[in-house]
Amino acid sequence: MAMWKMPDDAVGQTGHDDGDIQAALRANDLRGALTLMMNRYGDEVYRFAYAVTHSHHLADEVRQQVFVEIYRDLASFGGRASLRAWVLGITRHRCLDATKKHRRWTNRFKNDPPPDEEPDDHELERALDRSKLARILAACLAKLAPAARDAVVLRYHQDLSYDEASAVAGDNAGTLQQRVARALPALRRCLDARLHAGAGR
């Protein structure tokens, strides 16, 4: 029998009302509950995984693993956290596993020379279409250290508050703030460097 208790804030930050999932679990309908969860969180998990892994293949793989794991643990979840935080927490762990297996980003990061100087702030203002910007940003994110990348993704890609991100990442909010504060300048330098390179060609 599913031991299911939703927290008071069952409506997550994304505005999802997980009452239907709760009802399915109370009826011990695990398959129904998982179907609802896949429909609700599947795309978000994919985007999160893609932002972290910078790989469509890995993001797909991670998403499948996440929901298989969710199905396995659904009955014992018990509502310790919001569903969304729980799902993102699992996703984060699977992403870490996936990136450990694919350490290419690490090598790239290590091989990157440090930027010589801060580029002009105005360079960000150069017009680029959004999809290109997103691709470049994803590549730059992939170069960050895992902890910094997770913090940035949870805070500004998944739009979690620092307290929520803290619940997902297991680090305190102050630590995450520091990581983000250090990561954003690095991201910006990376972005500007690539924009420069693109403009120079």
Binding site: M38, A51, D121, L137, V152, D159, L184, R188
Partner: protein
């Protein structure tokens, strides 16, 4: 121009939700802050609109059902548990039978008085030999035959000292005289009567190819 201070200190204040009075009076830092805003507004664009493999849900179910098919079912565990219990019970019963002396042939000394089994024999103790249905029992003292019990199977012979039981025969004699005793237990019924001399009877068994066990006890 860039605002080093903003990227070093101002951004920390922003992430902590604290005011940054310096920024208001610094045009470079204001631009840097706007640049940060652009950056964080662009971050959600990563993967936006991407939904990945359209068949991913089907693959999740495939994995789940595959794992369930591979996982041992509950009744397998129950069966394994029942078999384990049965084996333990059988082993316990078997050991109990061994301990209770149902192993044959078995040769014991029953001391006079307190009925304790022992390998040490004394005058007036009893020698008990428990055998299966197909064994002859020959008991010698100092190499001379003192008691002969033919196998219960087919012999039909019953005496006070050679008593049949449910699984064969129990031979008992009082060790009234000190000295060395020898017990021969054959594996199969023997067609002839022993001559009475241990060495010769043993030789006859070996010549006939009859397997036997021999036990020696010293009675003091």
């Amino acid at each position: 121009m860039t605002c080093e201070r903003y990227w070093r200190e101002g951004i920390v204040l922003v992430e902590r939700g604290l005011p940054d009075p310096h920024r208001d009076g610094c045009a470079d830092c204001t631009r840097a802050h706007a640049s940060r805003q652009e950056l964080i507004e662009a971050l959600p664009l990563i993967g936006a609109g991407d939904t990945g493999d359209p068949y991913w849900q089907a693959k999740v179910w495939q994995r789940i059902d595959g794992e369930r098919a591979r996982a041992p079912r509950r009744w397998h565990w129950q069966l394994a548990g029942a078999l384990t219990v049965a084996c333990v019970v059988a082993l316990w019963i078997g050991l109990g039978r061994v301990r209770s002396g149902d192993v044959r042939p078995r040769i014991e000394i029953i001391p006079k008085g307190t009925p304790m089994r022992s390998d040490d024999a004394h005058v007036d103790d009893r020698l008990r030999v428990t055998v299966g249905e197909t064994s002859d029992v020959w008991i010698y003292r100092a190499g001379r035959l003192v008691l002969q019990c033919p196998a219960r199977q087919g012999s039909g012979q019953v005496s006070d000292q050679c008593a049949p039981d449910a699984h064969g025969m129990v031979v008992e004699m009082i060790l009234s005289v000190p000295g060395p005793y020898q017990v021969i237990v054959t594996a199969a019924p023997v067609a002839w009567r022993p001559g009475g001399v241990l060495d010769e009877d043993r030789a006859a068994l070996e010549t006939a190819g009859v397997h036997y066990e021999e036990d020696k006890r010293q009675v003091r």
